[in-house]
């Protein structure tokens, strides 16, 4: 029982990190209908900036702030220079350019920072706890707290503020939103900024949690988060978060108990294809 609970908690931790990466993707898809695969590259850059600033100054908070700002700028640049001019083309055109961006940015990270794995030894802001004999390590506790804080802030932003209202309007129909006096392009910019800043937080968090930062750390999340936003219902933020946590738990338990020889990623995609064939519009979207 204790082992099961520990596995479960670990699974929720893995799922939370997926959720943080998927959030940005779901926001971007919701507003622009573009599968932003290069989001995972933004996440990698975020981890590198965070690590760089932390090693230079020894201040983790400064690293997080600089990294969030840097990634927000990177996200807006990607949107302005690559996606926006391609909006009128069929969807696979921005999709392919997004894959090219992912490869390009990964390679750039490798050229700048080197191909090897760097360790990210930062002190964590949340202490570990032992509850009823079940130990939650400091890094796992940090993952929980950060994910919860980000989710609450985003929920507040999107449902309780005027900016959130404008974002939701633009994601429903950009032209109508523009006609009603919303500066849609500015809203798109803001969406990319928020999504990319969250990706930066996720990058640093994952870097510290697994104590490693490397150029291709975005490769697996890049495609797995696609599966997640599809299963959650494209563009649905709560759906994506629920799907992410379910996947994290499911994967961890399946690997812990069922002993399936296939790797995590293949399992995730098999689940995704089955869900899609059953409900092509995603799990949490009403037709």
């Amino acid at each position: 029982m204790q082992l099961f609970l520990e596995q479960l908690l670990n699974g929720i931790g893995v799922g939370s990190t997926y959720a943080l990466i998927t959030l940005g993707l779901a926001l971007v898809y919701g507003i622009m209908r573009i599968l932003h695969i290069a989001h995972a590259a933004v996440y990698t850059v975020g981890a590198y900036i965070g690590l760089g600033v932390f090693s230079a100054t020894g201040n983790l908070w400064l690293g997080v702030l600089v990294s969030m700002a840097g990634c927000a700028v990177l996200g807006v640049l990607i949107e302005r220079l690559v996606y926006f001019p391609l909006l009128s083309f069929p969807p696979f055109v921005p999709l392919i350019s997004s894959i090219a961006l992912l490869i390009g940015i990964q390679e750039l990270c490798r050229l700048v920072a080197g191909p090897y794995i760097q360790s990210f030894d930062a002190p964590l802001p949340v202490p570990g706890v032992t509850l009823l004999g079940i130990r939650i390590s400091s890094s796992l506790a940090t993952v929980y707290v950060v994910t919860a804080v980000v989710l609450v802030l985003l929920w507040f932003l999107t449902t309780r503020t005027e900016l959130g209202l404008a974002m939701r309007a633009a994601s429903q129909d950009m032209d109508t939103a523009s006609a009603n006096g919303i500066n849609s392009h500015a809203i798109v910019d803001v969406t990319f900024m928020i999504g990319s800043a969250v990706a930066a937080v996720a990058g640093i968090l994952v870097g510290i949690h697994y104590n490693q930062v490397y150029p291709t750390m975005g490769a697996v999340p890049a495609y797995k988060t696609l599966a997640l936003i599809v299963v959650g219902g494209l563009g649905s933020v709560p759906g994506a978060v629920i799907a992410a946590i379910l996947l994290g738990v499911g994967e961890t338990l399946l690997i812990g108990y069922a002993g399936i020889p296939l790797p995590r990623n293949a399992l995730a995609f098999i689940i995704m294809i089955l869900v899609l064939l059953w409900r092509p519009q995603g799990l949490f979207v009403r037709k």
Binding site: R33, L35, V82, P85, L86, F89, P90, P91, F92, V93, L95, I96, S97, I99, A100, L101, I103, G104, E107, L108, L111, Y223, L226, A227, V230, L234, P261, L262, P263, N265, A266, F269, I270, M272, I273, L276, L277, P280
Partner: protein, 297 residues
């Protein structure tokens, strides 16, 4: 030709064959597929198993390989009937990951170590090597191009084009999207199977990473670069992308970066590809040779 040039040409001819198959699915029928390397891999592994484990000769095994990849295409084309565009793109990425994972984890297929001992192809008693093998590949490419050319003109091909342009309008004219989407998948994946079989016999060895997702991206890049839906686009794309890495060889470390940057610039400024309807190359051709840019309109 030096053996270096022959090897290079053989490899990009094989890539052109596979890319032509992708062109049938994406360019002619408008069904986005990001997992074409999976079918390339299925063809190569089928050929490898049939020749190295069962002991069939290439010529006997080839029809079986085409049948197997065609059937897999039919099976994996089924999601395309329910899913469109983005969903289909992600599903095909998933298929690629699943197929590579299967190659990796099934001991009979050699696992991560790959499958070796694939014999050379013999033709009329002589073993095909170097120029001979290149000729075989070129013949395969010619055959594939012929099928593509016919596909752009025959009724089934026109029906596919109609579905690509507007599925609802096409089906209201009595064209069954189900039948023609699946047909495009079967034809396209069988071409990938041919490429795979040639690849397996040329390398004498196949391993899962040869057919991983980046290869699918590369195949799609070939198509985007050359021009989607054109007859000669995949060939030109494969030639350019086959030669470029050799040109970039002194810059080995920067190669992938330059590759990605090139693809990005290409899509941003010439989304139709080098031979696309509104491309620079085609308008140049038009200016020089009057009307008609060479490929089908």
């Amino acid at each position: 030709m030096s053996s270096y040039v022959v090897t290079l040409t053989t490899l990009f001819t094989i890539q052109a064959i596979v890319a032509c198959g992708l062109n049938v699915i994406v360019g002619f029928a408008g069904q986005i597929s990001l997992g074409h390397a999976a079918f390339f891999g299925i063809g190569a592994y089928a050929a490898a198993v049939l020749s190295a484990k069962v002991g069939l000769s290439f010529w006997v095994a080839l029809p079986v390989v085409l049948l197997i990849t065609g059937l897999m295409g039919l099976l994996l084309g089924l999601p395309s009937l329910r899913l469109k565009e983005d969903f289909l793109a992600i599903t095909t990425i998933g298929i690629n990951f699943i197929v590579v994972a299967t190659f990796n984890y099934v001991p009979f297929l050699g696992g991560a170590m790959g499958l070796g001992g694939i014999p050379s192809i013999s033709f009329l008693g002589t073993t095909l090597r170097g120029n001979g093998f290149l000729l075989l590949c070129l013949a395969g490419l010619a055959l594939v191009l012929l099928v593509c050319w016919w596909f752009t003109r025959c009724w089934a091909g026109l029906a596919c084009a109609a579905i690509r342009e507007d599925e609802t309008a096409a089906s209201s004219m009595g064209i069954s999207p189900v039948r023609f989407k699946l047909l495009a998948f079967v034809v396209g994946t069988a071409m990938a199977g041919l490429g795979g079989a040639l690849y397996a016999h040329y390398m004498h060895f196949v391993s899962p990473s040869d057919f991983a997702f980046p290869v699918s991206v590369q195949l799609l890049s070939i198509l985007v670069l050359g021009g989607m839906g054109t007859l000669w686009g995949p060939v030109l794309g494969a030639a350019v992308l086959g030669i470029l890495p050799e040109v970039f060889r002194p810059l080995t470390d920067y190669r992938m970066f330059l590759y990605a940057a090139l693809l990005l610039l290409m899509i941003r400024f010439q989304p139709g590809g080098l031979l696309g309807e509104q491309s620079l190359a085609r308008s140049l051709l038009r200016k020089t040779f009057g009307k008609g840019g060479g490929t089908h309109e």
